[in-house]
Symmetry: C2
Subunit: 215 residues, 2 copies
């Protein structure tokens, strides 16, 4: 085992350090956040910091760095109060990664990278047409974190669009079957292979493997 | 595409809703948070809500539900000001899942599920011996989120222990080679298969696939 201590971390070259620390949390979700400005400019940006915050109400958090690409995303969310999150599937992971390039604010990443915006009646923000699992959110909170200047954005889920084949009887969505990808570090994309769904854990009871549909 | 609207979500049976909403963020990290109480009781709990918060300082966030199993974890972190995060690898994913059972506070999940606590000089909290990538943190902030009563715990990374084979020249850690697993929903565990590491995205420049070591 290699032991890297606090002084080693502090002395690392900046990009290497970013790669190292970004690898530590484990596999990350790969999502495209899509927004529209008051002037009607659509915007889409990859984000690997979405996380589940609660099921009731249905809340999702994401962390945005003010100096990073999703800065247009953030101002659109502030302006419109709504946005969509769209899973990155294996067939669009390169286009999704390309959205992290620093395009000008008036440029639509949709056009530049070859993704399509799709509008659904009653929802202002665009979806990513190519995505197999996507949902819209209403902004609930924008919370700057004093500790490092990042911004926690919290939204409530309002509509879910999912390829029917992925939705299981017990509510679970088989995101592996929908080919959603995972991210490690800053730039590595991964498909998955299920080990098992496991039963609810109880003391003194052995775990059992569940069928995919949970029954 | 199945369209699930806000009213549908609100009317779902509680467990189905939890499974559905927990599936939406995408693949999640699988980590074991290990702590020790002032009285010397070790505790380990699986958590799928760890997320990268920043590289400089090196910060990690995690969300804890006050009524969930990591409640002992939270009080130990408050008492001691330190904890460790340990990747769940494929060979221990069942033991890791079993830590989510509601054992009494004085019971060590290490003993009950068959994981081993490992102590490193100068670090008070235990590590999980079986984990191939693990790190210690000092507590920086405990932030209750008014919106749903969950608690955001922020720590700064102080020591990293990593199987040498996983650490690449450019700082990236090949967590797939270390067999770290990903989680979907509440109970599904997945191994991964890399699609590619991709170059830093720039406007008007084609992406290239990077070798695993980044060079």
């Amino acid at each position: 085992m290699k032991h890297i201590n606090f002084a080693d971390i502090e002395q690392m070259e900046q990009r290497s350090r970013a790669r190292l620390i970004n690898s530590l949390s484990g596999f990350k979700s790969a999502n495209l956040v899509a927004t529209i400005s008051e002037e009607g400019h659509s915007n889409v940006a990859i984000i690997s910091s979405c996380f589940h915050l609660g099921a009731s109400p249905a809340l999702m958090g994401m962390v945005i760095r003010p100096d990073s690409v999703p800065r247009d995303t953030l101002s659109n969310i502030e302006q419109m109060g709504c946005y969509t999150i769209n899973h990155v599937s294996a067939n669009i992971y390169r286009q999704a990664h390309q959205t992290s390039a620093r395009y000008a604010a008036e440029v639509s990443e949709f056009d530049k990278v070859g993704l399509s915006a799709e509008f659904v009646a009653g929802i202002e923000a665009p979806f990513v047409a190519q995505s197999q699992l996507k949902f819209s959110l209403e902004l609930r909170e924008i919370m700057p974190l004093a500790i490092n200047g990042t911004i926690l954005v919290i939204g409530e889920i309002t509509h879910i669009m999912v390829d029917e084949s992925g939705l299981k009887e017990d509510g679970y969505i088989d995101i592996e079957a929908l080919e959603s990808v995972a991210v490690s570090g800053l730039d590595s994309y991964h498909q998955t292979q299920r080990l098992a769904r496991l039963s609810y854990a109880k003391p003194d009871k052995a775990l059992v493997t569940l069928p995919i549909d949970g029954h």
